[in-house]
C-alpha cells in the first residue's frame, strides 16, 4: 500500500506496537515472517491449484461456479490475488486501491476499530497491510453474497488484513468470508481488522467460516457502526482445529431502531483454545440486539463472552449461551455481562452448560435410534441454529458448512 492515511495513526500505532491485547495468550510477532509470498494475480480464480480450491471450498468459498456469488475477493498471505464483481452497484477491491480511488476513505479508516487497540492493530497500520474493500451503493440490494477468502499459504507466515465494509443507505449486502490455510504442520498467524459501516436502513449479513490448522493463531479485530433502522447480522462458524483464537468484536448501534444479531457456533477440539465474545453497545433509542452462541468442546477450552450495554431508552438486548461438554476433558467458561445505564431498557441473558441430557438421548432411543445415533441427532440439532431473518441461500450455505464439519464433533 502506498498512500498513507494520516501520520497520527502511524504515531499512535508506534506507541502501541508492544501493547499486549487485553484478552488471550500473547503472541510474539517476531516469530513470524510477514514477507510477501510471490503469488501472481489470477484473472480466473478457478485456475488456482485444486488443493487450494478445496480448502477454500471448505470455508464456503466457491471458485468453480460463481453464479451464486455477486463478487469475489481472494487474498493469499498478504497478496490480493483476485477480485471481481458481477453485480452492478457492488464494489469489491483491495483496500489499497480504494484508498487511491476515494478521497473520503479517511472517514472509514480506523474509526470502528482503534489503531492502538493492541499490538496487532498497530502492526497492521505500521506495515500498511492490504485487505478487502466491499461496498454496496445506495439502495443497492444484492441477492447473492459477495465472497471473500483470506488464505494462509506459507508456513511461519503472519497474514495481516485490514478490511472495510460499507453498506450505503438502504442497501442490502451479504458477505461470506472464508478464512483458511494450506494444510500445514507449521505455525501461522492471522490478524484481521474489519470495520463495518452500516448506514440508514441498510442490511448486512456477514457469515464468516474459519477453517484453520492445529497450529494457527488467530486474532481478528472487528468493529461496526449501525445507523437508523440498519441491520447487522453476523454468523460465525468455527468447527475445525485451531491453536488459539481470541476476538471480541464491538458493534455500536448509533442509529434509532438499529438491530444487531450475532450467532456463533464454536467447536473446540483437544488442543484448541477459543476466547470469543461479542460486545454490543445500544446507544440509540429502540436499538435491539440478540447474541447467541453455541459452544461444544470435545476436549478444548472455550471462553464465550457476551456484553450488552444499554445507553438509550427503549433498547432491548438478549444474550444466550449454550455449551455442551462432550467427553471427559475440555472446558467452557461463559461470561455474559449486561450493563444498563438507565431505567427504560430491557436486557437479559441465559446460559447453560453441561453434557447432553440423558433423558433426551433416551427419548430418541425409545424411537429406535442407537445411543450413538441419538447423540449425533442431538448434537446436530444443537449446532443447527435457526437464524431469524437470514436469507434461505445463506441458511443453506451455513447448513452445508455445519454438515461438512459435523464429523469432527461426533
Amino acid at each position: 500500500m502506498t498512500k498513507k492515511t494520516s501520520s497520527t495513526f502511524q504515531e499512535k500505532a508506534k506507541a502501541a506496537i508492544d501493547k499486549k491485547a487485553a484478552l488471550g495468550e500473547d503472541i510474539d510477532l517476531k516469530k513470524y515472517t510477514g514477507k510477501d509470498s510471490e503469488i501472481p494475480y489470477h484473472k480466473d480464480p478457478s485456475e488456482l491449484p485444486s488443493d487450494v480450491k478445496e480448502r477454500m471450498l471448505g470455508a464456503g468459498v466457491i471458485l468453480e461456479d460463481t453464479s451464486q456469488r455477486s463478487g469475489t475477493y481472494l487474498q493469499m498471505d498478504n497478496m490480493p490475488v483476485h477480485y471481481s464483481t458481477t453485480q452492478e452497484g457492488v464494489e469489491v477491491m483491495p483496500v489499497s486501491q480504494a484508498l487511491e480511488k476515494y478521497d473520503w476513505m479517511p472517514d472509514y479508516w480506523w474509526k470502528a476499530v482503534a489503531v492502538d487497540q493492541d499490538k496487532y492493530t498497530a502492526n497492521i497500520e505500521l506495515n500498511n497491510y492490504d485487505g478487502y474493500f466491499i461496498r454496496a451503493l445506495k439502495g443497492q440490494k444484492t441477492v447473492f453474497p459477495v465472497q471473500a477468502c483470506l488464505y494462509l499459504a506459507k508456513e511461519k507466515m503472519v497474514q495481516n488484513v485490514h478490511n472495510i465494509i460499507i453498506a450505503e443507505e438502504g442497501s442490502e449486502l451479504h458477505i461470506i468470508t472464508g478464512c483458511t490455510a494450506a494444510v500445514r504442520e507449521e505455525f501461522g498467524l492471522h490478524v484481521g481488522v474489519s470495520e463495518f459501516y452500516i448506514k440508514k436502513g441498510a442490511k448486512v449479513t456477514f457469515t464468516m467460516i474459519h477453517s484453520w490448522n492445529p497450529d494457527t493463531a488467530v486474532r481478528p479485530r472487528t468493529g461496526a457502526f449501525v445507523e437508523d433502522n440498519g441491520l447487522f447480522m453476523s454468523n460465525y462458524l468455527l468447527m475445525k482445529p485451531v491453536h488459539s483464537i481470541q476476538m471480541n468484536p464491538t458493534v455500536r448501534c448509533v442509529g434509532e431502531n438499529s438491530t444487531v444479531r450475532y450467532n456463533s457456533i464454536l467447536v473446540a477440539v483437544p488442543g484448541s483454545s477459543l476466547d470469543i465474545g461479542t460486545r454490543v453497545l445500544l446507544n440509540a433509542k429502540g436499538a435491539r440486539t440478540e447474541i447467541i452462541s453455541r459452544a461444544i468442546t470435545t476436549g478444548g477450552d472455550i471462553t464465550a463472552r457476551g456484553y450488552i450495554e444499554g445507553n438509550a431508552p427503549e433498547v432491548k438486548g438478549h444474550l444466550e449461551c449454550r455449551g455442551l461438554i462432550l467427553g471427559e476433558k475440555g472446558s467452557i467458561y461463559s461470561i455474559p455481562e449486561l450493563k444498563g445505564n438507565l431505567a427504560n431498557i430491557d436486557l437479559s441473558h441465559e446460559a447453560a452448560i453441561g453434557k447432553i441430557a440423558e433423558e433426551e438421548v433416551e427419548y430418541l432411543m425409545a424411537r429406535g435410534l442407537t445411543k450413538a445415533e441419538a447423540t449425533a441427532a442431538i448434537v446436530r440439532g444443537f449446532l443447527h441454529v435457526d437464524i431469524e431473518g437470514l436469507p434461505p441461500l445463506l441458511s443453506a450455505e451455513l447448513k452445508k458448512a455445519v454438515d461438512a464439519s459435523e464429523k469432527e464433533v461426533m
Binding site: 430418541l364 432411543m365 425409545a366 435410534l369 442407537t370 442431538i378 449446532l383 443447527h384
Partner: protein, 251 residues
C-alpha cells in the same frame, strides 16, 4: 405376546413394582388403572427398558424372547413403542426429525406429511420437538410418532389426560389406527397396554382386559368397563380390598 413374570422393579434403590404378573396375547389391548403414585408409569418404563428402572426380580418375554436385560433401543427396534407422559424438549431436533427417526431414519417427506396431517400436526413439523407444545399437542405428537414407528406392542401413558373433548375424538381415532385399523383382524399382531384414569379411550379401542394397580402390585383383573364403573362408584377401596384379600391371613 408379552409375558411379564414375577416382576419387581427398583428406581434409585427403592423398589416400586412388586411381583407383577401380566400377559398380553397378540391382537389384545389391556388397560391399566390405579391411583396416583401406584407405579403404573414405572411398569411401562420398565417394559420399554429405560436404564434407570432396575429389574430386581422376574422376567419380561416379548415375541418369545427374554428381553429382561435388553437395552431400550433394541426393544424399540424389536417392536415396542411408548408414548411419554412428559416427554423432554429436545432443542434443535425438529418434530420432522423425530418422525423420520420413527420411520427407521427414512426421510420420506410424503409419508411424514401424511402422518402430520392425520394428527393435525402439520404446523409443527419444523418446530423443535415438544418445545412450547401444549398438553394436547404433546399427546398428538406422541401418537403421530408411534404411527410412524408401527410398534407391535404399544404402551400408552394416559394418552387422553388434559385433552379437550374435540381432541379426544382425534386422539381416540389415532389410537384406533395404531391398535386396530393398521392391524387387520385376521393377522392382528398389535398389542396395547394403556394407562388411563378417565376410561374415555375405551370408546375407541377394543379392550377386554383391565387391571388395577395399587402400591406397585396388580390387585384386580377384569373387564375394564366393569372396573371403571367400580372405581367411579367406590373409588379404589374396592381394589385395595381385593388386593388385601389376596394376602394370606396372619393367624
Amino acid at each position: 405376546m408379552l409375558k411379564i413374570k414375577d416382576l419387581s422393579v427398583a428406581v434409585e434403590g427403592k423398589e416400586i413394582i412388586h411381583d407383577v404378573n401380566l400377559s398380553i396375547h397378540s391382537g389384545e389391548t389391556h388397560v391399566l388403572f390405579g391411583p396416583n403414585g401406584a407405579g403404573k408409569s414405572t411398569l411401562l418404563m420398565s417394559i420399554m427398558g429405560f436404564p434407570k428402572y432396575t429389574i430386581t426380580k422376574g422376567s419380561i418375554t416379548f415375541k418369545g424372547k427374554d428381553i429382561t436385560h435388553m437395552s431400550l433401543d433394541e426393544r424399540a427396534r424389536m417392536g415396542i413403542g411408548m408414548s411419554f407422559q412428559r416427554p423432554p424438549v429436545v432443542r434443535g431436533v425438529k418434530t420432522r426429525d423425530m418422525i423420520a427417526a420413527c420411520l427407521k431414519q427414512s426421510n420420506d417427506s410424503v409419508e411424514i406429511a401424511k402422518l402430520a396431517d392425520k394428527a393435525d400436526m402439520s404446523d409443527f413439523l419444523e418446530r423443535d420437538i415438544n418445545y412450547g407444545f401444549s398438553g394436547g399437542e404433546i399427546k398428538r405428537s406422541e401418537l403421530m410418532q408411534l404411527l410412524a414407528q408401527k410398534p407391535e406392542l404399544t404402551l400408552l401413558d394416559e394418552p387422553e389426560s388434559g385433552v379437550d373433548l374435540v381432541n379426544i375424538a382425534l386422539i381416540g381415532n389415532l389410537m384406533n389406527d395404531l391398535l386396530e385399523k393398521n392391524c387387520p383382524i385376521q393377522v392382528r399382531k398389535c398389542m396395547g397396554l394403556i394407562i388411563t384414569h378417565t376410561g374415555h379411550i375405551l370408546d375407541y379401542v377394543n379392550a377386554r382386559t383391565g387391571y388395577v394397580m395399587c402400591d406397585g402390585t396388580i390387585g384386580c383383573v377384569g373387564d375394564p368397563h366393569e372396573i371403571l364403573n367400580t372405581i367411579r362408584e367406590r373409588g379404589y377401596d374396592e381394589c385395595i380390598q381385593c388386593y388385601l384379600g389376596r394376602i394370606p391371613p396372619n393367624d
